[in-house]
């Protein structure tokens, strides 16, 4: 029986820039940061109140892909193809104003939906997230 989820992957265009975005703008915490020499860096972050879910900030150029796959993935990420997650907050208007003040780009302002109030923003690579204050 599957019980929990511990890791999920977010493909990013630039790991250093993603580090800055997720920690300094979104306020995520670094869970694991392991330098792997020239072969890269294992970097995971987590939402402040959910340290047990590690989001792997994986560069699209990582050596696990062929050059062709890497280029395709890079293109898809840039175009905003991937919706990564729904992030919840206690007060969506305060969170929205704070993230906007920090330069986060929103594609949907807080809007009342049948499940709560939702906004949509993009990370520094192009991945999009739903920001929600659930009912």
């Amino acid at each position: 029986m599957i019980t929990r989820m511990t890791h999920s992957t977010v493909y990013v265009l630039d790991q250093d820039s993603a580090f800055d975005f997720y920690t300094n703008k979104l306020g995520f915490k670094v869970v694991t940061d392991v330098p792997m020499g020239n072969d890269g860096r294992w970097l995971t972050v987590a939402p402040p109140q959910m340290p047990e879910l590690e989001m792997v900030l994986a560069p699209v150029t990582r050596s696990m892909f062929s050059k062709e796959v890497s280029e395709t993935l890079k293109d898809l990420v840039k175009k905003g193809t991937f919706g990564v997650a729904v992030l919840t907050c206690d007060d969506i208007y305060a969170t929205y104003e704070e993230l906007k003040a920090k330069g986060v780009e929103f594609t949907k302002a807080p809007t009342k939906e049948f499940y709560g109030t939702e906004a949509i923003f993009k990370d520094d690579s192009g991945n999009w997230y739903s920001l929600a204050q659930l009912k």
């Binding site: 392991v34 294992w42 990582r62 696990m64 206690d90 104003e97």
Partner: protein, 142 residues
């Protein structure tokens, strides 16, 4: 993208600006009364509104922010006394006491723990990476 106005929008903006001011100036002596004035609130109203959004008073938020910043500096290996003053505390005993109350460890114990962890990661990095990911990245070949 231009958002639609929403209820109490200007109140939210003033409170968020006040919070961001604390986020930027946490290491300095902060006069919360002056922040309230700047945001056009009475001190009482400011504390009440801030708490209704952030579930902490501005003072509690400032202290928790300083402790969080202190954790990051200790993690980076800075000495406890440097960290204390760098994050805005004026007395080492009060910093140590608050740090212990909020994290369960003294700053020096936390510093030692983090440096020990760093040494362990350097000695055996793969212990901290799920095997499947390490394999896919070619890190197991070494």
């Amino acid at each position: 993208m231009k958002g639609q106005p929403y209820p109490r929008m200007y109140l939210y903006r003033r409170l968020v600006q006040a919070k961001l001011f604390i986020d930027t100036h946490y290491a300095e002596p902060i006069d919360l009364g002056a922040i309230a004035d700047e945001a056009f609130f009475s001190k009482f109203h400011f504390i009440k509104q801030f708490k209704s959004i952030y579930r902490q008073t501005p003072h509690q938020y400032l202290i928790s922010l300083r402790i969080e910043k202190a954790r990051l500096l200790l993690k980076a290996g800075l000495p406890v006394s440097d960290v204390c003053y760098r994050v805005g505390f004026e007395s080492l005993p009060s910093f140590s006491g608050l740090f212990k109350r909020m994290t369960g460890m003294t700053p020096s114990a936390y510093l030692a723990e983090q440096q020990d962890l760093k040494a362990q990661i350097a000695a055996a990095p793969l212990t901290y990476i799920p095997g499947c990911f390490a394999h896919k990245n070619g890190w197991l070949k070494k």
